[in-house]
Amino acid sequence: MTASVHTVDLAGGFQPNPVLVKGEGPSLVYLHGLLGQEWDGLVDGLSATHRVYAPAHAGADEPEELRSISGMHDLILYYDEVLDALNLDRIDLVGHSFGGMVAAEIAAARPDRVRRLVLIDALGLWRDDAPVADFLLVPTDRQAALLLGDPTSAAVRARLALPDDPEQRITQTLRRTTSMASISHFLWPIPERGLSRRLRRIKAPTLIVWGTEDRLVPSVYARDFADAIAAAKVEMIAGAGHTPHFPDCEAVLDKVAAFLA
C-alpha cells in the first residue's frame, strides 16, 4: 500500500510539494486532515478506480513559508497552482477534516474546476450550541482520542508510534510538529473563516460523510453542510469518530467509491 512521490515545483518562494500519486482513471485529489499527509487505506482504495493525488499542506515542512499565505484566499490560490503544476483540469475532490474545509473552499472559489466533492468530517463551520473541540492545546492522549479514537487501543497506538531509530524519530517528531503548526495557521483559535457564506457557490454534486461519534466536529455539522450546498447528500458512519476511515476504511470507501462511480 504505497504511492509514488511526484514532486511539483511551485513559484512564490514555496518548497516543492511532494504529492503522493497512484492509480489510473479520472483525476482525484485528496486533501488530508489534522494528522498531516499520509497514504492510508481510503486513498489506496480510491486509487483502484482513480488516479489519486494527495498533496502535502502548504508549509507542512517549513511553517515560515506561511508568511506568504495570510489567509484562506491565499491558500486557495496555493492549491490552484498545485493543480496547475500537476496539469489537472477538472477533478474529483475529497477532503477530510481540515482538508474538507479547504476542499469546500476550493469548490466554492473554483466551481468550474471541481467535478464532484466529498467532505469527510469537515471543519469550517461553527455552532455555538455544538462548538468544535480544541485539538491543539490539549494533552497528547486527548488529541489522539479526538482525532482517532481510544488512545489505548492497539490501532491508535500503532498509528501514532514513532520509529525506533533515533534519527528517524527526530525527523518524524519534527514533521508532526511543523505539519500541525502549518494547519493551526489557518484554524487557531476558532476553525471558522466565513465558509458558511461561500458554500452556496458550490456547484459540484457533494457527498458528506460523517462519523456519528465525532467528538471534534459533532455530527450535527453534517446537516449544516448539506443544507448550505445545492446538491448534497449525507452518509453517516455509525459508531465512527472524527476519522471514520480509521482503523477500518471499508465503510467510508464503499460510500465514496459508489458516489464517484
Binding site: E62, L136, L137, T140, T177
Partner: protein, 422 residues
C-alpha cells in the same frame, strides 16, 4: 549593579489540591471557582503597597510584568500599576517587563501608553518588549502560533518608528495598517526609553537583542545554577555579534527570601516556596510547547538536546515534599537564608551569570503582606548595600537604565574630565 523589586502579583491562596484538581495554573483555572474579586481587591492593595515599600527601601527599580488568566500572576495590564508608581515622587526606575507586543492591536497602543508613563514618571520608564509565553498569546489571546513572531517584529518596528520619527506618517504592515502614525505624546526620554527584552531562552530573541543592541533578561523560576547554560548561550551570541561584555546587557530573575538566620528563613519561607513551585509551575507541556511557536530550527535543536529545556524543566521532583536544602543548595532554585548567606550567593550568581540587572522575586505567592515586608526590609538593609557596587570598579555603565531614574547613580566620569579643563 541594578536590583529591581519584581512583583508577580499572583493569587495568594489557591487551594491545597490545586495541582491535582486543575489542569494548569494558566489559561483554564476556572475564574469563578478560584478567583474572588473581593479577595483580589485586598491583594491588589497589598501589591501596590509592597511596590511602594520597595521604592522607599531604595531598590533601584520596581518591576512589573504582564500575564493573563494566570494564578501566579494575573496583572493583565502592567501599565495600570506602573501609572500608580509613576505618580510618586521618586527616582527609582519603573521596569515594565513588559507589554507583550503580539497581543496589542493595533500595537500603537503600546507606544502611546508607554510614552504616557514615561512623561508621568519624569523619564523613569524601562520599555520591556517580550515576545510572550504561549499560554498568554496562543491560549488566552488566540494568536495563531505561526503569527506570534511576525506580529512581534512588526509591532516593534511600528513602535520604534512612532517614538523616533516625526509624525504623522503612514505605516503599512502585514497586520497593522495605519494612515496617520502621530502619537501624542512621544516619550520624554530621548531618543526613546531603554528597551529591554525578556524570555525563556529562545535563540531568536538573543539574536534580536544583539541586532538592536538591547538588553535581555532571562526569566525563569529555576534559579541561577540552571540558568548558567542558557546565559552562556546568550553571551556567546553577544560575542558572535562583536559587542562588548558589558554585564548590563543581561538580566536574570531570582526568587529570594531573607530571614534573621538561615534557620529562621527555612522556618518562615519553606512552606511558601513549596506552595509556589507546586502550583505556579503547574503548566502542562501541551500549553507550554505549542507547534508553531518555536521555529523549526529551534524545535530540532531542542529535540536533539533530548531533554526538557528552559523555564519549565523540573529540577526537584515533587515540590510539595522537597526540602529547604533541595531548593537552596542542591538545585539552587531559591536563594534564601540570613542576609550574609543571601548576599554571598547573590554575589556569586551575579558574577557567574554576568548580569547587571537582577530582578528579585520576593513576594512568593502565598506570603502575606507582613511576611513579605519582613523579608524585603532585611534584604534592603543588609543585602542591597553589599551587591550594589558589583561592576562599579570595572567601570561598566548601564546604557539601558532610564534617564530619569537617578537613584544610586555611580559618580559620572564627566566630572573628572571637567576638572581637567582649565
Amino acid at each position: 549593579m541594578k536590583t529591581i523589586f519584581f512583583h508577580m502579583q499572583g493569587y495568594r491562596d489557591l487551594p491545597d489540591d490545586f495541582a491535582t484538581r486543575y489542569e494548569s495554573i494558566w489559561i483554564t483555572p476556572p475564574n469563578s471557582a478560584l478567583c474572588d474579586p473581593a479577595v483580589v481587591a485586598r491583594y491588589m492593595r497589598w501589591n501596590v503597597e509592597e511596590l511602594e515599600l520597595a521604592d522607599e527601601l531604595g531598590f533601584d527599580g520596581l518591576g512589573l510584568n504582564e500575564h493573563h488568566q494566570n494564578g501566579y500572576g494575573f496583572c493583565n495590564s502592567p501599565n495600570l500599576i506602573a501609572s500608580i508608581l509613576a505618580r510618586r515622587a521618586s527616582n527609582a526606575a519603573i521596569v515594565v517587563l513588559g507589554n507583550t507586543l503580539p497581543l496589542y492591536n493595533p500595537p500603537i497602543r503600546v507606544a502611546e501608553e508607554f510614552a504616557m508613563i514615561d512623561c508621568l514618571s519624569g523619564g523613569r520608564l524601562v520599555a520591556g518588549f517580550p515576545v510572550g509565553s504561549p499560554p498568554d498569546s496562543i491560549g488566552n489571546y488566540g494568536v495563531p502560533p505561526t503569527q506570534i513572531r511576525p506580529r512581534y517584529y512588526e509591532a516593534h518596528d511600528l513602535i520604534m518608528q512612532a517614538w523616533t520619527r516625526p509624525g504623522p506618517f503612514p505605516f503599512n504592515g502585514a497586520f497593522t495598517k495605519l494612515r496617520y502614525v502621530n502619537p501624542w505624546p512621544q516619550p520624554l526620554q530621548k531618543p526613546h526609553p531603554p528597551v529591554w527584552l525578556a524570555g525563556g531562552g529562545s535563540v531568536e530573541t538573543w539574536k534580536f537583542a544583539t541586532d538592536n543592541n538591547y538588553t535581555y533578561s532571562y526569566l525563569s523560576f529555576n534559579g541561577h545554577q540552571s540558568a548558567k547554560g542558557m546565559m552562556n548561550g546568550y553571551w556567546a551570541q553577544i560575542e558572535e555579534a562583536g559587542l562588548d561584555d558589558n554585564p548590563y546587557r543581561a538580566g536574570f530573575a531570582q526568587l529570594v527570601v531573607v530571614g534573621a538566620t538561615d534557620a529562621e528563613a527555612e522556618r518562615l519561607y519553606l512552606k511558601h516556596i513549596r506552595n509556589f513551585y507546586a502550583k505556579a509551575l503547574h503548566v502542562p507541556m501541551h500549553q507550554a510547547a505549542v507547534p508553531g511557536f518555536m521555529t523549526k530550527k529551534s524545535v530540532e535543536f531542542a529535540l536533539r538536546q533530548g531533554a526538557a529545556r528552559g523555564a519549565y524543566k523540573n529540577l526537584i521532583g515533587d515540590p510539595r515534599s522537597a526540602s529547604w536544602k533541595d531548593f537552596t543548595e542542591t538545585s539552587r532554585m531559591v536563594i534564601g537564608g540570613s542576609p550574609a548567606t543571601v548576599a554571598g550567593q547573590l554575589d556569586e550568581a551575579i558574577r557567574n551569570l554576568r548580569i547587571g540587572h537582577l530582578m528579585v522575586v520576593m513576594q512568593i505567592q502565598s506570603m502575606d503582606r507582613e511576611l513579605t515586608e519582613y523579608s524585603m526590609r532585611l534584604f534592603a538593609d543588609h543585602v542591597l548595600p553589599k551587591i550594589r557596587g558589583i561592576w562599579d570598579s570595572e567601570g561598566y555603565e548601564d546604557h539601558w537604565w532610564p534617564q530619569g531614574a537617578t537613584r544610586h547613580r555611580a559618580p559620572e566620569k564627566a566630572v573628572a574630565t571637567a576638572e581637567m579643563v582649565p
